[in-house]
């Protein structure tokens, strides 16, 4: 089959339309941020004199440095904690296939589709009873727990694809299951783990609901949670609100720009794999 020039032109047009639609909100945020503070600019107009100083003003008055540091701290708590918990669990589910592994898999699968609204109220009470309300630790623990299902199933798919001979040879060398995991499987899981780490960091940075319920002080929230408070405080000064919002989303955009190639490959590959997980498991697993 050959694609004719018309089909190619139509394809280009579709892609162009998609790109424009995707970028317009960012462009509007950007040009609005350059208007004089305190005005209510009409949409998508370039200001007569761009007020680049809005970014500096917003950075100072909204304490953006603190907010970014808080988001980063939470991210650097959630990501290693989630990986440390998820990797061994995923290895056991994908490779060791212990008695009852199906039930555990099912429990984690429930968490994939669970709306957070279904746990937020009791979680609030629980975090309060632990004395962790309004602390980053409370938020880190809660976010780790809610990210575990995805992390476990993502890594499980990786471990399930490894040949069993890998463990056999490790066992012949006298390694127990823990050494086989640490020395052989974990290093091999590095690419899968890196993508997962970036995703977890992004989801933490952008997380909203738990951030606004578990932490009252915006300076101890995630970036997205801080945005919610931003809006209340700066809602009257649209250009500054836009400047501040851009400052809060930019660091993650940079991370994303650096890593998007691997991410988009891994995500699309995972999408092709997810619904087939069951067959793959049934075909190779000894069952329980």
């Amino acid at each position: 089959m050959t694609t004719g020039p018309w089909e190619r032109a139509a394809g280009r047009l579709v892609v162009l339309a998609l790109v424009v639609v995707t970028l317009v909100p960012f462009a509007d945020l950007f040009v609005t941020a350059l208007h004089p503070p305190g005005t209510y600019p009409t949409g998508l107009t370039w200001p007569r004199e761009p007020h680049w100083s809005n970014f500096a003003t917003a950075f100072r008055s909204a304490q953006v440095a603190d907010l970014l540091a808080s988001s980063a701290l939470i991210g650097f708590g959630v990501v290693p904690l989630t990986l440390a918990l998820a990797a061994p669990a995923a290895y056991a589910l994908g490779h060791l296939r212990f008695t009852g592994h199906r039930a555990v898999f099912g429990l984690f699968a429930v968490g994939l589709a669970l709306p957070l609204e279904a746990i937020v109220t009791p979680l609030y009470h629980q975090v309060r009873d632990l004395g962790l309300l309004d602390t980053r630790w409370g938020l880190v623990t809660a976010l780790t727990a809610v990210h575990l299902p995805f992390a476990v199933l993502w890594l499980r798919a990786h471990f399930a694809g490894l040949p069993p001979e890998l463990s056999d040879s490790a066992r012949l060398d006298g390694a127990g299951p823990w050494q086989a995991f640490r020395r052989v499987h974990l290093p091999l899981a590095r690419p899968a783990t890196t993508s997962l780490a970036i995703l977890l960091f992004a989801w933490t940075w952008n997380h909203f609901l738990l951030a606004i319920t578990l932490v009252d002080d915006p300076a101890r929230r995630t970036a997205a949670g801080a945005l919610g408070a931003f809006q209340g405080r700066w809602g009257t000064d649209v250009p500054l609100l836009c400047a501040g919002s851009l400052l809060l989303v930019t660091p993650l955009l940079v991370v994303f720009a650096l890593a998007h190639r691997r991410l988009s490959t891994d995500l699309t590959r995972a999408a092709a794999r997810v619904p087939s997980g069951r067959f793959e498991r049934d075909a190779s697993g000894p069952g329980n």
Partner: protein, 280 residues
Amino acid sequence: MSRLVGWVFVLPALAVYSVFVLRPLAATVRYSLYRWDGVGPSTWVGWDNYRAVLTDPDLYGTIGHALVLVVFFTGGPVALGLSAAAVIRRAPRGRSVRAVLLLPQAVPLAAAGIAWSLLLSSTGAVNRLLDAVGLGGVARAWLGDSSTALAAVGLIGAWALLGLCTTLLLVGAERIDPALYEAARLDGAGPWQEFRGVLLPGVRRELGVCVTVTVIAALASFDVVYVTTQGGPGNATSVPGLEVFSLAFAQREVGLASALAVVLVALVVAVVAPVLRWTR
């Protein structure tokens, strides 16, 4: 190797997950059978909270709104993604194009909400565009008008998910063996038969992921509504997530909030389970 050693590996993750996800989930189910203000003593009310959810228009209305959002969040990105896949058949080569399409995934929905509030405001870019093409008569504050606010929220969600679905579907379509298209053409298949017979089965898994992710995003939506309309005007855009939040934390009706949350979970399961079955 012992059949039990795996438990040692799973236990830490399972413990954290059980304490901070499964236990609260069980608590929500339990709370839903009580009347409780979150602080004082609670009273057993049986199914009363569920009865209220199903009979109070303010409560079941939120579920109706969530279902309308599904049409936008799922229908928009899936329809556009499939048509893009039908026309292009292969993911764009340009690296920057791919990055741009996935850009909305990297910003918080709260930020998307702020940006779209500007675009959809009475003097925003959308109205200026309408004015320019002679449709100035329909211009309005899209998020502030109770007849359009819900659709406007749906549009924002569709924008956020469009790139993800398109990318997934395009990559899926790329994997289809070109020989299948050729065979279809030789059999005299038109574009529609080609779409139904070749493309749709070829991207079934990706389609399943898109539908699942977008349906959950729509039913459990919270961020966008919180930032753009707070459920208003009136309660034109109230959704279950926002209602659970305000019932539990502002109105101190924990029992009612929990019942609504349980209904929401049931709804997610009812919609997602058949989709997953179909794509398997």
